[in-house]
Amino acid sequence: MEENFAEVAARAWEVCGIGLLTVFAVLIGFALLIKLMIRIFPAKDEE
């Protein structure tokens, strides 16, 4: 039981660590994509 808890606790930390890093990575990726799209498709004056 103790060992089982330790395993699940390790999994919880892993989920939180990887989860938060993934959220950062994906959102920073989106930010870079937006910058790239704005450079490729700049707004015309009438927009």
Partner: protein
């Protein structure tokens, strides 16, 4: 006579308590205007479900039919997302992509609360075995802890979506906590922000941040590309993000105005109504009147506090490296509660310096938070499925 009343209370007391709770939610919705669109139907659903012998629940009860048709298969939250997507203007974020940092940082509360909910069961060890306190401390599984943590998404449909998959028994308290605290953002965020920032930091101006013009092409491509990229990273999140971005695409494309208006109004309103009353029907006494509900409410509050702290502290961290400083309060707007959080930040900014207008920056961070919360929900689903 006395024993008959006592027996009645024993038999129906829990149901009566639930009906009072339902009434309280209706009171908060009407009198205090706390998320009335959701809390009122939830409150009434709770009353309907707890009337002894109610025909609204059970095999052929209309609320059970609605539950199976829209919650058990996650359909209602997905439909809500189409409406929400059609309502969101990503413009303030597209003009300031930098704000994505805060949309990510303010999801800290989800993961911190997941850990807190998971470890809470360990408190049992501090009390003698079999004691009352040891008995009331709940032990949450990892999936249940994740469902509680997702309250920190500050995003009702995401919380409902994740909870209905990972912890259907906790759906009632999780939904109530998520919507209650969203409406309490103006009370929760200011003290946390003031605690973590100095007066000097709160008056930082952000006029030096460039605003780029965004073309219609970018506005149209954004929802499509985000869906594809997020789908490749976490395929299980496609339903969540895809529905939101589909709603946004029909808004931005400009050629299906009628559908966009329908998604924003008829679809969103109708599904919100059904979603609320159906969630209320899950608040039956035997599930809701448990110590775990109290713990979930406390954890939900913690999640919002951790979110706010995560956003503010990350902005302060960035300021160590930036030449043009960011007002750290903007970090707190990275939660998904839109536009409440942005308004709160703008208001505090004006209180500190009446000529410092932070609203558009805060809205950019707030919109980033909407994207961030759904991504976080999708990531949790992918990691724990």
């Amino acid at each position: 006579m006395f024993s008959a009343i006592w027996q009645f209370l024993l038999d129906f007391g829990p149901s009566l308590i639930m009906m009072v709770i339902g009434g309280l939610l209706i009171y908060l919705a009407i009198k205090k205007e706390y998320e009335p669109m959701l809390l009122l139907p939830i409150g009434f659903g709770a009353i309907l479900a707890n009337i002894p012998g109610s025909s609204a629940i059970g095999e052929h009860g209309f609320l059970t039919v609605l539950y199976n048709a829209g919650i058990a298969n996650e359909l209602f939250p997905i439909l809500i997302f189409i409406g929400v997507g059609a309502m969101i203007d990503f413009g303030p974020l597209l003009r300031r992509p930098f704000m994505m940092f805060f949309g990510a940082a303010a999801q800290f509360g989800i993961f911190a609360t997941l850990l807190a909910a998971f470890y809470i069961g360990q408190l049992k060890g501090l009390f003698p075995e079999g004691s009352i306190i040891a008995n009331i401390i709940p032990q949450f599984s990892l999936k249940e802890a994740a469902s509680i943590g997702i309250i920190g998404a500050a995003d009702g449909p995401t919380s409902i979506y994740v909870a209905s998959l990972f912890a259907p028994k906790l759906l009632g308290p999780i939904s109530v906590a998520a919507y209650s605290y969203m409406s309490l953002v103006p009370l929760i965020q200011p003290p946390v922000i003031r605690l973590l920032t100095t007066k000097k930091e709160r008056v930082i101006r952000m006029d030096h941040f460039d605003e780029v013009k965004v073309s219609k092409t970018v506005r149209i491509l954004f929802p499509i590309i985000v869906t594809v990229v997020a789908g490749l990273v976490a395929p299980i999140s496609v339903a969540l993000i895809g529905a939101l971005m589909f709603g946004n695409l029909i808004r931005e494309c400009g050629v299906i105005e009628r559908l966009s208006k329908s998604a924003q109004n008829e679809l969103a309103n109708l599904v919100t109504l059904l979603l609320g009353i159906t969630i209320g029907s899950t608040m039956v006494a035997k599930d809701f009147l448990a110590p775990s509900t109290l713990f979930i409410m406390v954890m939900g509050l913690l999640a919002f506090i951790f979110d706010t702290a995560g956003g503010v502290m990350f902005a302060k961290l960035l300021n160590l490296f930036l030449k043009n400083k960011v007002n750290p309060m903007i970090g707190a707007a990275g939660i998904s509660a839109f536009p409440m959080s942005a308004r709160v930040i703008h208001k505090i900014g004006l209180e500190e310096d009446p000529s410092n207008y932070l609203l558009m920056h805060a809205i950019g961070a707030n919109v980033a938070g909407q994207v961030g919360s759904i991504v976080a929900g999708g990531v949790l689903l992918a990691l724990l499925q």
